[in-house]
């Protein structure tokens, strides 16, 4: 029970519960829609050659709707705690959420229906939300001094975010005005900056806090972490430049660098996990470890594409994109989210009721198990379907993915329901108002 002790503002590091809940709630719904979209456009995936349409719309449901919204909710809540900084203003977070959500909806709808005004309007709104988020995130990391590895990665992610948004705006306006000399190159650079630059750097940086926290181990640091960061940043920069100028050898060098940097990162994380003090790892590590393998697989595939060892259009590109966003990023995200959702809920119960409820009491294992099996099966099926160019297998895999996403929503709903029940019971015990 907290006493009357001045915490020096330290207790103000939790956002109001509804703010992260909004981000995660929207992402969980978008998660279902993304797999559903993939099932509906299964016959177009393996032959995807770029441009607006259902495939790009589905990709943006996943990237903007799931990955970005989750990254926003997690970073706005977790980073101030991890870095010892004040929480961002609630109004700012709310504005970021609605701008990004409305923009994403407009953009995705426009891409799916080939509506240029919707694409431009959606891109402008989503871009505004992302820039507002960048400003808020910049405020969080500006005065922080440690952990160094986290700060380096987050700052690099911010730079990549600004560049990715700028390119996205150019692409959206090019759909109407045809101002770009080579739309495909800009789209490639946008993909690399958004996926590896923004989401990737954020994921790598947050891993320096989350993985040791989940495993209860020493956070990696020192020169190996610096080296991993330096190589990864150089690889992203080289990859984006290579895509812009259309030089395959630069992209290949970037892929080699990416493999080296990410390989070192994965090695550092694996060593932290191996030297943990928690005897039994949580089930989330099945997905987290799978995501590490998928990251390296995506990079290796990217290298093969750059060296023209694989066809650079159609199947090869589609498989690369799938392994990158559905494979690495979505797998890592759902692995992390299944741990931090009950963790954050427990942190909020500590603030609201004085005593935290144990996170394990908020978890229902069955939906998590269902999600894990469905997700991994869906990845295997869809990847096989793309590689073999069999739309039926892609559709089946995506349908299994829908099942996994629904199970994940069931898990999240259970966490929410049990948290509310705990707070209600605490309020009743204390005789207060609910």
């Amino acid at each position: 029970m907290p006493g009357a002790v001045d915490l020096g503002g330290a207790s103000q590091r939790l956002l109001p519960e509804h703010i992260p809940l909004r981000f995660f709630g929207a992402a969980i719904v978008a998660h279902i829609i993304a797999w559903l979209g993939l099932a509906l456009c299964a016959d177009q995936v393996a032959d995807f050659a770029g441009g607006p349409g259902p495939v790009v719309a589905t990709v943006h449901v996943l990237t903007l709707g799931v990955l970005v919204l989750t990254a926003m909710g997690a970073s706005l809540q977790m980073l101030p705690v991890a870095l010892g900084q004040p929480i961002p203003p609630a109004r700012g977070c709310t504005a970021v959420f609605w701008l990004t959500l409305a923009g994403a909806a407009g953009l995705i709808g426009g891409v799916a229906t080939f509506s240029r005004p919707a694409i431009m309007g959606g891109a402008a709104a989503a871009g505004s939300g992302l820039m507002a988020y960048a400003v808020i995130l910049r405020g969080i990391v500006r005065k922080a001094r440690q952990p160094r590895a986290v700060l380096l990665h987050v700052r690099a992610a911010l730079v990549a975010l600004v560049l990715a948004v700028a390119l996205a705006l150019l692409l959206s306006f090019d759909d109407a005005a045809f101002i770009l000399p080579d739309h495909g190159r800009i789209a490639g650079a946008h993909l690399l900056l958004a996926a590896f630059g923004f989401m990737g750097m954020l994921a790598l940086g947050l891993s320096y806090v989350l993985i040791p926290m989940f495993a209860m181990g020493e956070a990696p640091g020192g020169w190996p972490a610096d080296l991993s960061f330096a190589i990864a940043v150089a690889a992203v920069a080289a990859g984006a430049c290579g895509a812009l100028v259309g030089q395959r050898w630069i992209i290949a060098a970037a892929a080699v660098g990416g493999l080296a940097g990410c390989g070192l990162h994965v090695g550092l994380m694996a060593r932290a996990v191996a030297r943990r003090m928690r005897r039994k790892l949580g089930r989330e590590f099945v997905l987290i470890r799978a995501s590490w393998a998928l990251l390296l697989a995506a990079l290796a595939l990217g290298l093969g594409l750059a060296l023209e060892l694989l066809p650079s259009t159609g199947t090869g590109t589609a498989l690369f994109g799938f392994l990158l966003v559905f494979g690495w990023l979505l797998t890592l995200l759902t692995g992390v989210l299944q741990r931090i959702l009950p963790f954050l809920a427990s942190m909020h119960t500590a603030r609201s009721s004085g005593r935290a409820i144990a996170p394990t009491k908020l978890i229902h294992d069955l939906p998590l198990t269902l999600h894990r099996y469905c997700h991994l099966a869906a990845l295997a099926l869809v990847a096989s379907g793309i590689a073999l160019d069999v739309p039926g297998v892609i559709a089946t895999g995506a349908a299994v993915g829908v099942g996994g996403a629904i199970a994940f929503a069931w898990f999240a709903g259970t966490v929410l329901h049990r948290t509310r029940a705990h707070l209600l019971a605490s309020a009743v015990r204390q005789g207060g108002r609910v």
């Binding site: 002790v5 500590a350 144990a358």
Partner: protein, 249 residues
């Protein structure tokens, strides 16, 4: 902390004029210098020094209750300590001049990592500095050699000892009210990991006092998982102190 009590130097002068002068300079230079450090250096009980500072006792050296300068037995490593082969620094002139010797000590400590240790001469037992050095992988031992002259031997712990444990960065000690752990200065998630390691290793009686620099928000779910409670304790503005207690089984 002495720096937070401007009137302390005047009152303490009656107890030990030369030491009070040194302590006043040191308090200005080293913000972490505590009443406990002064009491230790003067060979007096902390309560007696506090009573003089607060005016509850006359500003005169008490005739009874003299504390032993160093209660701890010398550690085993002290016999084998290569005193002539390690770098040394005497911070007494620095403190007398009101200058902060911290950076110089840290520079010597860097050399001491290679040499296997270092020796510090000081006018008192610099406990905050010893904590910093212990976090950097040194085992320390202090002994009063003469009035206003303490020697601190700092022996580099083997690398395996210093890094094998996630809690290696945290200072841990036993006190009457339980086991204390100081995680200030550690980056996230090291404080949480160090505290949980202490809880899980069982080297306590169900009470742990945590010295932190901010509210350990990530810790509370893990405490709930282990059925531990927390209570905030009064501490200075630069510290957040929590008492963790094991809940009923």
């Amino acid at each position: 902390m002495l720096a937070a009590i401007p009137a302390a130097a005047g009152r303490l002068r009656a107890l030990d004029p030369a030491l009070a002068e040194n302590a006043g300079n040191a308090a200005a230079a080293v913000p972490g210098l505590t009443v406990r450090d002064f009491a230790s250096a003067a060979g007096l009980p902390v309560a007696a020094v506090l009573a003089v500072i607060t005016g509850e006792a006359p500003a005169a050296r008490p005739a009874v209750g003299i504390a032993k300068p160093e209660d701890d037995a010398p550690p085993d490593w002290l016999e084998r300590f290569p005193e002539s082969a390690v770098p040394a620094i005497d911070v007494r002139p620095w403190l007398a001049a009101g200058r902060d010797p911290f950076a110089a000590v840290m520079a010597v400590a860097e050399k001491g990592i290679e040499a296997g240790g270092l020796v510090i001469d000081a006018p008192f037992d610099p406990r905050p500095l010893r904590l910093v050095l212990e976090r950097r992988g040194f085992a320390t031992f202090a002994r009063r050699l003469a009035a206003q002259h303490w020697r601190i031997w700092c022996c580099r712990r083997p690398a395996a000892d210093a890094t094998a444990s996630p809690a290696s960065g945290a200072a841990i000690w036993h006190d009457a009210d339980g086991v204390h752990i100081d995680v200030r200065g550690l980056p996230a998630p090291a404080p949480m990991v160090a505290i949980l390691q202490l809880i899980d290793c069982g080297a306590h009686d169900g009470v742990i006092v945590v010295h932190h620099y901010r509210e350990p928000t990530f810790l509370f779910p893990e405490l709930a998982e282990r059925n531990w409670d927390h209570v905030y304790l009064d501490a200075g503005p630069a510290e957040l102190r929590l008492k963790l207690t094991r809940g009923p089984r």
